[in-house]
Structures are given as structure tokens and as C-alpha cells.
């Protein structure tokens, strides 16, 4: 199908450019610059629609013209997934950046897809509320991008992932349809739950134009406690003991820096009296292990691993792993033994079983480590998805085994984006 398309250069004719300018104002269509390239692909045009309707029209035009669209928010995670097969037009949500409605008394917010997480959180904080999510690069990452990549951090343990926080979404489909699902109330079971479908879909089904979230109060007090474990099996024991206790922690993670003993971090949020009491309980639970108060900086560890791998010059790969909570120690032990002396590896894994591993070394040696680690994790029912890889690393599918759902996933793609206009090739199974 792709081979039958005319070459990229001839395709984006003046006519098409004019058609784009007829939808959005002249200054919001431009030729793509070298800095718009990603994952080794150079797109040709960047368009910044100023409304949902404009965005839907642009998609329809692209779809009918047979050109590939890359939806882009802050552009922080464009290298995640597989490189696209085609990438002609970047549709940026940069101008759809408003917090539309923060109904603080109902603890809900409606926000446009191009709003950054930081802008959103600042607006919510004015009423002592927050979106209880700690994604990567909040200063640049947008609501649409965070949803599309299903990014979540340590707070997921207590507050759930985006699937548990979103209550409504509006999507623009490649045929120009603007469709909403869910609503503005926290409890609602009318119709299919399409917000769930588009979370983590990497923009392969439609472009998110707005979302509605349920909110949580900003905690009155927080405290972080860390504990040095002797080895990975002790770290695993700590995680399970804390999870099986009556502590009401908001986050719990294990940090492994190559060559050093693992650290277990726990975050408490709530009222001061509760924090003090829980810290005491934790201490007696983990005794004789020594507890320290490292401050909130430890919760940046995950972001640092992702950030360290950024940049085309780096010899780093980052992958998201998901394992059973009781299998974290085993996965990290496997990682340590696989990387041995050839690859330097760091990891942060949340008690949910979701974590990130960062590998640094010769690109030729990183690939086999990722492959073997994926095989071992998949054997126990988990997954490993590559977020970033060195440009020169041998090809390796970013996603791994999608199980027996591939034909269903393809059927959904065919229904919503039959011409494969959106992000072709980035997702699971070549979607």
C-alpha cells in the first residue's frame, strides 16, 4: 500500500499547501525545519490548527490526499514506539492550549490537548487541586501527548493511571469526524468508554483535542522515606511487606544504580499526624534497616533516566517494563546478569510493577540485552516496550508480543483509520 503512493516530495503539492492555508491562517502552516525531524524521519509541513474544527478539517484533507499525519503535542516522546513508515504532515496542538473549565467544586477540569501538564497543574493549584499524575517533562509534555503515550509516574500506585483519571475525551478522526465520549461527571457509564481506547494508542486512531479529568486535592503534607536494601531480594521483600501492610502510601519504588545496593523509596501524603504515625510503623516494619529522609528529589529518578537517554548522540536506550509486583526483584536480577560488564544499567521500578530501565553501552551490545530481557519478562506475562534507542542500534521492534489480540487491534484501526493516515507504523503490529 505504501509503495503505491507517490513520492513525498511530489505529493505535497502547492495545491495541498493552499488547501491547508484555506483551513488555518497562513502563518500557521510552515515548511518543516530540521528540528521537526524525529526518529530519523523528516516531515515536510507543520500545521497548527487553532480549533478542534480546524484540526478535524486538516485531518480530513490529509486523509483524502493520502498523506501521513504525525500528531504532535510538546514533541517530547516522538521517538517512542517504532519510527513511522511515512511522516509528511505534523499536526501540532500547540494552539489548542487552554484550560477550558476548572469546576473546582466538582473537582473536574476540561482542558485542551495542547496544554502542558505544568500549565494545567498551576491552574488547578489555585484551588488546592491537582491531576494526580506525575508524567515525564511536565513543563513541555501536553495533555494529548501524555494521554497518547499513557505516561504515568510513581503516583499511579495510589491514584491509578490516566485510565482512572480521565472522564471524557473529544477526538478528531481522519475522516473529519469530531467525536466525544464520556462526559463531565466523575461517574458515568453511558456508551462505550472511548477515553480508554485512545490512552496509549500513540495517536493511531484519532487526534485528541480535549479531555476531561477528575481531580484530587493537593495533599496538606507529604514525606518521603528511603531505605537501603542489602540486595534485590531484600528490596523485593520490602516492597511486598509495605504493599501487604496497612500503610496508606501514595508511591513506592525501587531504584537501582549500576553497582550500588538498591534503594526503596516510599511517599506518604495526608495530614501531618498521619504521616508521623506511618513513618513510625514503617520503621518498625523494616527494622533493622536504616531509614533516611532524602526529600522529594528521589521521585525525579525516573525522569532523569529518560532525560539522560535523550539526544541523538547518546549511546543509551530506555525501555518501559511491566512485571508482576512480586516479580520486580527477579526482573532486575535478570537485567543485572544480562548486562554484566558490557552495558551499564540503571532502573527505577514502581511497586505497581511498572518501571524503566536505562542501558548505556555500545549500540550493538544494548540490543541483545533488551531482547533477552524482553524474552524473560514476557515469559512471566509482562512486557518491555522500547521508548528510546541509539540511532545506530540494530532494528528491534519497540513493542514485543501483543498476544492474541492483534487481529482485534487491527480491526479497530481499520474502523477508525482505514487509510493508515495517522502515525503509520509506529504502533503494535505495524499499525
Amino acid at each position: 500500500m505504501d509503495a503505491a503512493l507517490p513520492s513525498q516530495t511530489s505529493m505535497l503539492t502547492t495545491t495541498l499547501e493552499e488547501a491547508l492555508r484555506a483551513i488555518v491562517k497562513e502563518e500557521h502552516v510552515r515548511a518543516a525545519a530540521p528540528h521537526d525531524a524525529f526518529a530519523g524521519v523528516q516531515p515536510q509541513f507543520v500545521v497548527e490548527p487553532g480549533s478542534e474544527q480546524e484540526l478535524a478539517k486538516v485531518l480530513k484533507l490529509a486523509n483524502e490526499s493520502g498523506i501521513a499525519v504525525i500528531p504532535r503535542g510538546g514533541g517530547t516522546k516522538l521517538d517512542w514506539g517504532n519510527p513511522p513508515r511515512r511522516a509528511h504532515l505534523i499536526v501540532s496542538t500547540a494552539r489548542l492550549n487552554r484550560v477550558i473549565e476548572h469546576v473546582w467544586a466538582d473537582m473536574t477540569v476540561t482542558v485542551e490537548a495542547g496544554c502542558t501538564l505544568q500549565t494545567l497543574q498551576k491552574a488547578l493549584a489555585q484551588h488546592g487541586q491537582r491531576l494526580a499524575l506525575d508524567p515525564l517533562w511536565p513543563d513541555r509534555a501536553t495533555v494529548g501527548g501524555v494521554l497518547s503515550t499513557n505516561d504515568s509516574g510513581a503516583l499511579r500506585l495510589r491514584f491509578g493511571a490516566l485510565r482512572d483519571l480521565i472522564i471524557g475525551v473529544t477526538l478528531a478522526l481522519p475522516d473529519g469526524t469530531l467525536a466525544s465520549s464520556g462526559g463531565k461527571v466523575v461517574k458515568n457509564v453511558a456508551g462505550y468508554d472511548l477515553p480508554k481506547l485512545i490512552i496509549g494508542a500513540f495517536g493511531t486512531l484519532g487526534v485528541i483535542t480535549r479531555a476531561v479529568f477528575r481531580l484530587h486535592p493537593v495533599p496538606k503534607a507529604t514525606s518521603t522515606i528511603s531505605c537501603l536494601a542489602r540486595d534485590l531480594s531484600e528490596a523485593q521483600r520490602f516492597l511486598l511487606a509495605i504493599q501487604d501492610s496497612k500503610l496508606a502510601h501514595s508511591a513506592l519504588q525501587v531504584r537501582c544504580v549500576a553497582g550500588a545496593p538498591p534503594q526503596v523509596d516510599i511517599l506518604f501524603e495526608g495530614v501531618e499526624a498521619g504521616l508521623t504515625a506511618q513513618a513510625g510503623q514503617l520503621k518498625s516494619m523494616l527494622a533493622p534497616a536504616l531509614l533516611t529522609d532524602p526529600g522529594p528529589v528521589v521521585w525525579k529518578a525516573r525522569g532523569e533516566l529518560y532525560s539522560a537517554a535523550k539526544g541523538s548522540e547518546s549511546n543509551c536506550a530506555v525501555a518501559k517494563i511491566s512485571v508482576l509486583p512480586a516479580g520486580i526483584g527477579d526482573a532486575l536480577t535478570t537485567l543485572a546478569s544480562l548486562s554484566a560488564n558490557k552495558v551499564r544499567c540503571n532502573a527505577v521500578v514502581q511497586a505497581t510493577g511498572i518501571g524503566c530501565v536505562h542501558l548505556e553501552g555500545e549500540p550493538g551490545t544494548i540490543a541483545p540485552v533488551l531482547k533477552s530481557l524482553r524474552a524473560e519478562i514476557e515469559r512471566t506475562g509482562g512486557s518491555l516496550v522500547i521508548a528510546h534507542r541509539p540511532a545506530t542500534m540494530p532494528p528491534l521492534d519497540a513493542w514485543g508480543d501483543p498476544g492474541d489480540t492483534l487481529s482485534l487491534i487491527r480491526a479497530i484501526k481499520r474502523q477508525l483509520d482505514p487509510a493508515a493516515t495517522l502515525n503509520p507504523g509506529r504502533f503494535v503490529g505495524g499499525i
Partner: protein, 494 residues
């Protein structure tokens, strides 16, 4: 890719098909006698009734697959059924199809405490999951009022809630994976024991799809550790407005209680008549449950007490024992059934409003009730704005049933006008499919239908529910145009 459109032939199921089905489930697994079929002609919403051609009671995933393959081959629609406690007619049979009851698939297959996962068959009763894990200090959080009888499979279909979903989330939050028999009889595994499986979140799409995307035959649930402390407070207010103001203050204070429930005077009277919960006779009753670490709950209870008093609460009780706490809840959980004590007939409605619209909507409901000469008892999950108005009437009085129905639907319109939803936890099913187009625009419904076409191109799985009109899969979205097969009289939209 074009799929064959659904062809509905209005004939009875042929004997050869029943023979084949009988061979799958055995003599005792197939019900065809009219007397026995009556049990299955409706669910908890008894106003809608339809006789299926037969009822199948499979005992395994393989049997479900074999049945569905026959249905697929014969283009025969099927409706999956759990305990039949649904309140929107989701399990209402299709007259030219069969019912597949999952009641015999009721085993808890695996309990995994270190990972806090439980794997169950769909016929397992909701409360039995908690029963199985409570000894280790865990519970299964979604707690619909029917939890002593309703099944996990039904909960999955409806994305059931319950009083405690304010803090703990709905069924969808607690379902991590599903084994599903698709409408063509193939078997897929959506989600799993680990989170974020590569691919679309199909488990998230399946939960709450009301049986229209296939049949879940195994479900992986998340269980939750019981908090250190649970405290339940009951407060009597002069009116629901005062109680509502207290709710707003609780939220504004940054608390997230495990549950906030409200009942109005009529609902209190009914509960008292039925289960003697010793509720104070007041205009608005709040039931607030806080849980968490001892020290935290203690601080918050003081604050909560103060908020209630500031909003004119004239009596506040805190449950002093598990038994007293259970009694507090008994009246609330029995509220729907209790209304039978004060009215010969009643309609249970389920709508959602933004919490802040509560006082306005309540006074509107009161006004509408007066205008139509009907009483409305109100029970709500006040924390999340989920209303359950109970419209009381007497079928024997001419015109009252029609008036009651009209009133209950008018209440839903009020919910929509306030920016809410037509259902918070009971589902759309048969009852509300015609008002889906008041809540959603045509492109919204169209998009949902496209997802449905991916799962069930022939529209065999609970085909007549949720949507106001079905869509022939393969047709292009846009203006309604008669499908060539329709005009030729080969297929019909049902």
C-alpha cells in the same frame, strides 16, 4: 473490508440447532420449555420482557466458545446473562436468539496475595470475592448494593459502581484482564495480570460495553488491602439542601471519603419501615465513611463533625462497632427494595449530575413530583453526584404508570441539562437506548458503533441494546442512507 450484514429472520430456531447445542452443554444445560424460560424473560428491570428461544448454561470457556460458534454460523443473536439483577434491561433476551447464562461458571480460579490479584469465572458472586480474601485483610472494592447476589460477569458488563467507588473507583479500575469469547467464537485475552500490555486498552473498552462486544469467561481482578481504620458517621440535617452544602464543604476541605451517601425523608421512612436501621427522622441524612491510617482518620473525623454541625446537622452518630456500622449501611443498601413498603410500585432511576447542581436539581425534582401528583424518594451517592430518584406510583390507578415513567425520564433530562449523564452505574441497556441521542451527538454514537463493528461485525452479541439504532458494519459514516440490502428486504435494522 466489508462484512456480511446481519440478517434477521423471524423464525424459530430449528431443531437441528438445538440438538447441536444440547450436545455441547448436555441435557441439563439447555432450557427450552416455556415454563422454565419465563425465569429468563427479564432481568431486574421487569417492565421489559421477551421470551428467548432457549437458555444455555455452559460450564466452561470451551462450551461458551462452541455455543457462540454455532450462533455465528447460524447468524443467531445471543444475550449473555449473569445473575439477572441488572436494572436497565441489559440481559433482556432477544426474541429470535438465545440466552447464555454464566451462572454455572462460578469458580474462583486463583487467589494471588503477593500480587493482589484474583482470577474468577464470570458467575462468581461479587461479595464472594471479598469473602475469599478478607481473612488476609483484603477486599474487592466495587460494591453495588446487589453485591450479595450480582455476578462479577454482570459487573464487568455494566461497569458497576457502588457506594465506595468515590474513593476506590469503579469495576473498570479493578479489572486488569479478561478472557473473552468474541462474537465469532474466537478467544482473546485482553489486558492481563501485569499492567499496560502493548496494544490498545481493550479490557478498558470491554468493561461497561453491556455485553455487546462478546462474553467474558475469565476475569482478573485487583484486590485492595483493608485500611487500618474505618469510621462511619451518620448525620441528620433539616433538609437535603443542608446535607448537600455539607458535602460541598467536605470536598472543599480536601477530604476524599471512602463514601458519601445521602437519603431524603421519604427514603428514610422506607428504610425504617423495611429494615429498622434506626435512622433519625430528618429532611436529609448523610452517611460518610472515612478510612485510612488511624491518626489521619481521627483528625479528619473531628473536621467532618465540625462541617456537619456548621451545616445545621442536629444529630451526629459515629458507629462504635462493626455491627453498628453494618446497621448504618443496611438501611442505605436496602433503600431500593424498601420503597416497596411505602408504595405498591416504583421506578428506580439512575442519573448523574455535577455535584454542585444538587440543590437545584432536587428542588426541580420536587416541583415535577408535585406537578404530576407523584412522590419521589431520593437516594444518592452524593460524593459523585449519582442520583437514584425512586418514582412512586400505583399501577392500579389509571394513568399513573405512564406519568411515573414520564417523570423519571424528565429527571434524566434535568441531569443532562445540568451537564450530567443518563446513567452512573445501571447502564443503558434496553431502557435508555432511545435517549442516548440526547446525551451524545450522532458522530459520537457513530464512532462507538465503529468500535463495536470491529468486535462484532455481524452484531450478534446483545444486538438490540445501548444504541438507539444499530449500524450495518461496513457502511460509510455520514447521513443515514438505506443500505441496498435493506431496500431489497434482505436485511433490516432492528
Amino acid at each position: 473490508m466489508r462484512h456480511r450484514p446481519p440478517v434477521r429472520e423471524r423464525h424459530t430456531v430449528e431443531g437441528r440447532i438445538f440438538q447441536e447445542l444440547r450436545a455441547i452443554v448436555g441435557e441439563r444445560g439447555l432450557i427450552t420449555s416455556p415454563e422454565e424460560l419465563h425465569t429468563y424473560e427479564c432481568d431486574g428491570l421487569t417492565a421489559f420482557r421477551a421470551m428467548p428461544q432457549g437458555v444455555l448454561l455452559p460450564k466452561s470457556t470451551e462450551e461458551v466458545q462452541a455455543i457462540v460458534r454455532v450462533c455465528h454460523r447460524e447468524r443467531m443473536p445471543f444475550v449473555a446473562r449473569g445473575a439477572g439483577t441488572g436494572l436497565s434491561g441489559g440481559a433482556l433476551p432477544v426474541v429470535n436468539g438465545i440466552v447464555i447464562s454464566l451462572a454455572r461458571m462460578n469458580r474462583i480460579l486463583e487467589v494471588d496475595f503477593p500480587n493482589a490479584r484474583v482470577v474468577v469465572e464470570p458467575g462468581v458472586v461479587n461479595l464472594d470475592v471479598t469473602g475469599r480474601v478478607i481473612g488476609q485483610g483484603y477486599f474487592y472494592a466495587p460494591d453495588p448494593s446487589s453485591q450479595t447476589v450480582c455476578s462479577i460477569g454482570g459487573n464487568v458488563a455494566e461497569n458497576s459502581g457502588g457506594a465506595h467507588c468515590l474513593k476506590y473507583g469503579f469495576t473498570t479500575t479493578h479489572v486488569l484482564g479478561l478472557e473473552v469469547v468474541l462474537p465469532d467464537g474466537s478467544l482473546v485475552h485482553l489486558g492481563g495480570k501485569t499492567l499496560d500490555k502493548p496494544g490498545y486498552d481493550l479490557a478498558g473498552v470491554f468493561v461497561g460495553s453491556e455485553g455487546t462486544l462478546g462474553i467474558a469467561t475469565e476475569i482478573i481482578l485487583r484486590i485492595v488491602k483493608r485500611p487500618e481504620c474505618v469510621q462511619t458517621l451518620l448525620a441528620a440535617f433539616p433538609s437535603t439542601n443542608d446535607a448537600g452544602a455539607a458535602v460541598s464543604d467536605i470536598i472543599a476541605a480536601g477530604m476524599l471519603p471512602a463514601a458519601i451517601e445521602m437519603m431524603d425523608n421519604l427514603a428514610i421512612q422506607a428504610a425504617e419501615a423495611a429494615v429498622h436501621a434506626s435512622y433519625p427522622d430528618c429532611g436529609g441524612l448523610l452517611l460518610v465513611e472515612l478510612d485510612g491510617p488511624d491518626a489521619e482518620v481521627k483528625v479528619l473525623m473531628t473536621q467532618l463533625d465540625e462541617i456537619c454541625r456548621n451545616n445545621q446537622a442536629w444529630e451526629i452518630r459515629v458507629a462504635q462497632s462493626d455491627a453498628e456500622r453494618a446497621l448504618f449501611w443496611k438501611g442505605r443498601k436496602a433503600a431500593f427494595a424498601s420503597v416497596g413498603r411505602i408504595s405498591p410500585n416504583y421506578i428506580v432511576q439512575d442519573g448523574v449530575i455535577p455535584r454542585t447542581a444538587l440543590p437545584k436539581i432536587l428542588s426541580e425534582i420536587e416541583k415535577l413530583g408535585k406537578e404530576s401528583g407523584l412522590r419521589v424518594a431520593n437516594v444518592f451517592h452524593a460524593g459523585d453526584g449519582n442520583l437514584h430518584p425512586l418514582v412512586l406510583y400505583d399501577r392500579k390507578i389509571a394513568g399513573q404508570e405512564t406519568a411515573a415513567l414520564a417523570l423519571s425520564f424528565r429527571i434524566l433530562e434535568l441531569c443532562l441539562e445540568a451537564g450530567g449523564s443518563i446513567t452512573g452505574e445501571h447502564g443503558v441497556g434496553e431502557e435508555k437506548k432511545m435517549i442516548m441521542s440526547q446525551m451524545f451527538a450522532e458522530p459520537d454514537l457513530e464512532t462507538m458503533q465503529r468500535v463495536r463493528c470491529a468486535f462484532d461485525p455481524l452484531q450478534l452479541s446483545n444486538p438490540t441494546k445501548v444504541f438507539p439504532r444499530p449500524r450495518l458494519c461496513g457502511e460509510k459514516p455520514g447521513e443515514y442512507e438505506a443500505h441496498p440490502l435493506e431496500t431489497a428486504g434482505i436485511a433490516e435494522r432492528f
